[in-house]
């Protein structure tokens, strides 16, 4: 237990910041907002996470990566706790996260487009003259768009 008590919650957050979302690797799991809390308890750190989508295959990958990152940094006593409610929402995504998405070529969630429709801002040329191709994209969290100005297809990270 000595190893645990020497570390702080802040240190754990710093480690978690290095864990990337496997599907959108430009985002850390903190940017994504799935880490709800880190608590120091008698049996070690409790890392509370809320999965993005019920069937998101990345959830297990993320857990594995958290585990590895903590172990690599000498944290041995911890558990990852799943919390379903309140359900994850894109409101929890950080501003920094949204900017990283945009720079990566994925349109970040916009409140105006809670339901995907034409007009999401193109991450390439910033035009709003865009067209919804499909409400379902390459992963559960994305919808497929095409920009009518620069003609580039792009993903939109759906509001959830």
């Amino acid at each position: 237990m000595t190893s645990t008590t020497q570390h702080t919650v802040e240190f754990i957050y710093a480690i978690l910041e290095t864990v990337a979302d496997p599907e959108v690797p430009v985002l850390s799991i903190l940017d994504l907002g799935i880490v709800r809390d880190v608590q120091l308890k008698d049996d070690g750190f409790h890392i509370i996470i809320t999965p993005t989508y019920s069937g998101c295959p990345a959830t297990e990958m993320i857990q594995l990566q958290i585990r590895m990152a903590l172990l690599e940094n000498g944290i041995q006593h911890f558990q990852i706790v799943h919390r379903l409610s309140p359900a994850w929402t894109t409101d929890w995504m950080t501003e920094a996260g949204k900017q990283k998405l945009q720079a990566y070529g994925i349109a970040p969630p916009e409140k105006k487009f809670a339901i995907p429709e034409d007009g999401v801002t193109c991450p390439q040329c910033h035009s709003t003259n865009t067209r919804l191709v499909s409400a379902f994209g390459s992963t559960a969290c994305k919808a497929l768009y095409q920009c009518s100005d620069c003609k580039e297809p792009f993903d939109y990270f759906k509001c959830h």
């Binding site: 989508y53 019920s54 069937g55 295959p57």
Partner: protein
């Protein structure tokens, strides 16, 4: 013999798993890439929701009798058709595109109403799983409604196909609202969704979308004893075939992992 709550949780899980399996059958067969992906996404949502319900059911089963050693996998892969409590509409064959989208429409509107009620369930774990699933099922309703309108108010052939699908599927919509013996008790305890209220939402939504699709809504589907009741483990012939395929690997090679 499972408690009414466990049985109800299994019913919710089985509905999601079996419909998810049907959606997954389209993977690689969709008419266009976007729709292929759409169905794979729907399947993913359903199977994810099923896992959450199965994990909860397994927890309750093991708490009642630790010798059971139930897991989400044992519940999905090692029960026989008579022990599945999903509704018939989830197990019906996909048929053509019209039948697939119409089934998904009827089913997702039903689940939408069920999950909305479960948000206020006295059972907080059911409420939490429903909260997550509801966000996803709203997408299913939107996607399938659009297809019903597009096919119904489309070409002569698309309308004809949709009407043919309606003939096949409508008959099974009555069973969605047939209750299990324990429903009254669970509703009284504010745990389960009240199917009469679910029906009101369902019928209103179907009427609204059908109007836009320029199709008449048939009279409410009757249920008869000979048709069985999925809630009681009495299924159409189709469920056995689904399970034969879905469970084959775990039955043939118990505990197999890859």
């Amino acid at each position: 013999m499972y408690s009414p709550l466990i049985r109800y949780t299994l019913h919710l899980a089985d509905n999601a798993l079996i419909m998810g399996h049907r959606c997954s059958e389209w993977c690689g067969h969709g008419p266009v890439l976007e729709q292929d992906i759409a169905l794979a996404n729907l399947a993913l949502d359903y199977v994810g929701t099923a896992r959450n319900f199965y994990q909860y059911a397994a927890e309750m089963i093991n708490a009642a009798d630790p010798a059971q050693k139930a897991t989400e996998d044992s519940l999905a892969y090692l029960r026989d058709a008579g022990d599945f409590y999903n509704n018939h509409i989830a197990e019906l064959p996909n048929g053509d595109w019209a039948q697939t989208t119409l089934k998904e429409f009827f089913f997702s509107v039903y689940l939408q109403a069920v999950y909305r009620q479960l948000l206020n369930s006295a059972d907080t774990q059911l409420a939490a799983i429903a909260e997550k699933a509801l966000k996803e099922i709203d997408y299913h309703v939107r996607w399938s409604s659009e297809w019903v309108v597009r096919l119904g108010d489309g070409t002569e052939e698309s309308k004809e196909r949709l009407l043919k699908a309606l003939d096949e599927v409508w008959l099974h919509t009555g069973e969605l609202f047939a209750s299990d013996d324990h429903d009254a008790q669970l509703i009284q305890e504010n745990i389960a969704a009240d199917l009469q209220l679910v029906y009101t939402h369902w019928r209103t939504t179907v009427e609204k979308v059908f109007e836009e699709a320029t199709i008449a809504v048939p009279a409410p589907a009757k249920t008869a004893a000979w048709m069985g009741n999925g809630r009681k483990g009495i299924h159409t012939e189709h469920l056995g075939y689904i399970l034969a395929e879905m469970q084959y690997l775990q039955r043939a090679y118990p505990g197999c992992e890859w």
